[in-house]
């Protein structure tokens, strides 16, 4: 019997994942990955409740259950990476890093060492013949977060939810009377979702206040509490009231200046040519040619031309932000992608 270790977060998706695998005849072990346990201002970290919920479902299913402690590794590989990126003025995606480093590396290795043949997670994605494919539910598709996973890891991974829509998953969880069937969804990096990146970063960095400059006039409009908190295209939180809204179009981490504009058509808000760094291809390296790409989770797929590591989008896209990922698709197949660098002329 194939032994599968399922990452169980205590949410409905991974709960149903485990249930489906049991029904499909796998020998299933549930694993709670203990990645983060710290309380933050205004947030009681729910890890103990989540762990208990995951275990409740494991008991319901009559499967073995274990806790893998990745707290130190998560802090090093995900949180420190995230903070470093923000310090450099970029906007990182910690969920992508978590999949790359924790779920599909540490968890996989630990599971195999415990005797597993495969792992499974509750991601909305499909794998066919070692190829990562879009989930059936285009609205829930999570391949954007998975593009940095290796082919070797995918060969040992099951995504049982890839064929289902979120409403179907809820319904199936209810039909099975799973304890977590009605539980509210949480974000991948739950603490950021709950308290906001601003309050989170404050725990780790001493932000330097600086000037807010109108890019068109060069005039100083006011002060901000730290350039690190501002990201391209951002409209809210500038505290410069009156008239049309301003948008962040750039920042200088050295001088601490944040540049804003009222011009929705400002060049820096729109990008067409993007050089990718830290490129990762899952299986085959994508040859130059035409593809569809996604510039953020749940953004629609848009046409693009790949040429020597540079993407030329068919249409300019708004707020393509340094540090974020662009993921490349060929039809249903997720080929991989890379990280957006700073726009060349700022």
């Amino acid at each position: 019997m194939t032994k599968v270790y399922v990452g169980m977060s205590g949410g409905v998706d991974s709960s149903l994942t485990a249930a489906l695998l049991v029904e499909q005849g796998y020998e299933v072990t549930g694993v709670y990955m203990k990645n983060w346990t710290q309380d933050l201002p205004g947030l009681k970290c729910p890890w103990a409740d989540d762990l208990a919920d995951a275990k409740r479902v494991a008991v319901q299913l009559g499967i073995d259950f274990e806790v893998f402690d990745f707290e130190n590794e998560y802090k090093q590989k995900v949180v420190e990476y995230m903070i470093d990126e923000y310090k450099l003025g970029r906007t990182p995606n910690p969920d992508i890093m978590c999949n790359q480093e924790v779920k599909f590396r540490l968890f996989l290795d630990a599971a195999l060492a415990h005797g597993a043949d495969m792992i499974a997670t509750g991601h909305y994605a499909r794998v066919q013949d070692g190829i990562l494919q879009l989930a059936s539910d285009a609205n829930k598709d999570q391949t954007y977060f998975l593009y940095r996973v290796t082919k070797e890891a995918l060969d040992k991974t099951l995504f049982p939810l890839g064929e289902y829509s979120k409403p179907e998953v809820r319904k199936m969880a209810e039909e099975r009377n799973l304890y977590t069937a009605a539980k509210k969804d949480s974000q991948g990096i739950c603490f950021v979702g709950q308290i906001g990146i601003r309050d989170f970063l404050r725990q780790y960095v001493d932000p330097e206040p600086g000037d807010i400059i109108d890019k068109q006039t060069g005039k100083k409009l006011g002060r901000h509490d730290g350039a690190i908190f501002y990201t391209l295209g951002q409209r809210h939180g500038l505290d410069i009231g009156g008239g049309l809204p301003y948008y962040v179009v750039g920042k200088d981490m050295a001088s601490g200046e944040v540049y804003v504009t009222r011009d929705l058509n400002d060049d820096s808000l729109w990008r067409k040519t993007i050089e990718l760094s830290s490129v990762h291809w899952i299986g085959r390296e994508a040859p130059d040619g035409r593809y569809q790409v996604r510039i953020r989770h749940r953004a629609p797929l848009v046409g693009a031309e790949l040429k020597a590591g540079t993407l030329v989008l068919d249409e300019p896209q708004r707020a393509v932000t340094a540090g974020q990922s662009i993921v490349v698709y060929d039809g249903e197949e997720c080929l991989g992608g890379g990280i957006v660098g700073f726009a060349p002329s700022r």
Partner: protein, 381 residues
């Protein structure tokens, strides 16, 4: 069907207790220290409630300090002197932590969790000022030979008189788990200080008291307006104390019949489970044990899985110890009575109460047999 078997952790408020309390949240909301007539009435009701409680304890109302629960009472008791204290290794965390603030000796207990009064005697030092032994253990239900320990204290006092040692020595008991099942008359128990709360006897949470006989000089831990004869400042929790008096009166009146009833129900549950699981380990003293208490262990089984499995069937039970379980650490009580780790980790505490009857016990027994059986098959496959 919901079967609640965790009365040692919390009890639902008796509707009559709620009813007695309600006026003091609204019409009779006055501050008992205010001078006008309606407030004076509230003051009288408050004082009368304390007299009612004191009568059951066989004490004077002036010897009671009302607190916000047993933990506060324990803290107040342990602050009443300085020097060496003696307690046992199986006390509640409140007592252990309070004892650790001074020089202390925690004496061992036997495999049933009972402390030998002679062991207490041997632990006494010339500067020992407090001996604190819980009336009944919250995890395994073992009842301590408090009267015999009180006798040891009396003999120590006589010895000190003969030796010209002027150091007073007092006996404190945390009676929170025993109230309603054991006579808590302080003279018969032989204690100088007694802690109890209302939450375990179908009264409100965050209401407790410390009885301290007149000779004990309490050092207030909360200072301010001088309420409770200066021993515990803060506007009186009138509704809470009224509720505690009502709850205690009811618990005391029902004590003998209820103890007998729970004893029979508990034993029926025990014999059903013993028949189903010959390998089951039962902890606590076979005879000197709270009658509504049952602590059982299933070696090699993860108790938390049993709790979760039972919860889906509507049966609510505790793992070996609620406090210890939340921290993910093994119970100090079970370690102290010598349970092996794989036995301790498979422990359930089943505590019966007013809502328990023959039907609910039968239902719970079936559920436990099913859930434990399922886990045993999983572990052994």
């Amino acid at each position: 069907m919901t079967v609640y078997l965790d009365h040692a952790a919390a009890t639902p408020m008796d509707p009559e207790v709620t009813k007695a309390m309600l006026p003091y949240f609204s019409d009779a909301f006055f501050n008992p220290s205010s001078p006008y007539a309606p407030a004076v009435t509230v003051r009288r009701d408050y004082d009368a409630a304390k007299v009612r409680i004191a009568a059951i304890l066989g004490a004077q109302a002036g010897e009671l300090t009302m607190t916000a629960g047993a933990t506060e009472s324990v803290n107040l008791a342990f602050a009443a002197g300085s020097g060496h204290v003696v307690t046992t290794v199986i006390e509640h965390q409140a007592v252990l932590a309070a004892a650790d603030r001074s020089d202390n000796t925690k004496v061992a207990v036997d495999a049933h969790g009972r402390v030998d009064p002679e062991v207490i005697r041997n632990a006494l030092q010339p500067d020992t000022w407090l001996v604190s032994v819980g009336l009944a253990n919250n995890e395994i239900g073992t009842v301590q030979p408090l009267a015999k320990i009180a006798e040891v204290i009396r003999q120590e006092r006589a010895k000190r008189r003969d030796e010209g040692n002027g150091q007073p020595i007092y006996l404190h008991t945390d009676a929170s788990q025993g109230v309603g099942q054991i006579d808590i008359n302080v003279a018969r128990l032989g204690v100088d200080l007694l802690t109890m709360n209302a939450a375990k006897i179908y009264g409100p949470k965050q209401v407790g008291l410390l009885y301290a006989e007149r000779g004990v000089n309490l050092t207030p831990q909360i200072v301010g307006g001088g309420q409770e004869q200066g021993r515990r400042s803060g506007t009186e929790n009138v509704a809470g104390v009224i509720g505690m008096a009502e709850a205690l009166a009811r618990a005391d009146a029902a004590r003998k019949t209820e103890t007998r009833r729970l004893f029979d129900l508990r034993n029926s549950l025990l014999s059903t489970l013993e028949a189903a699981f010959p390998e089951m380990v039962v902890s606590g003293h076979p005879k000197h044990r709270l009658s509504g208490h049952l602590h059982v262990s299933f070696p090699g089984i993860d108790a938390e899985r049993l709790v979760f499995g039972l919860e889906t069937k509507g049966v609510l039970v505790a793992t070996g110890s609620a406090c210890a379980a939340n921290k993910g650490t093994r119970s100090h009580v079970l370690t102290a009575i010598g349970l092996a780790p794989d036995v301790a980790d498979g422990s359930l505490r089943l505590s019966l109460g007013k809502s328990t009857n023959a039907d609910s016990i039968a239902y719970a027994a079936d559920a436990i047999i099913e859930v434990v059986g399922k886990e045993m098959r999983r572990v052994n496959r």
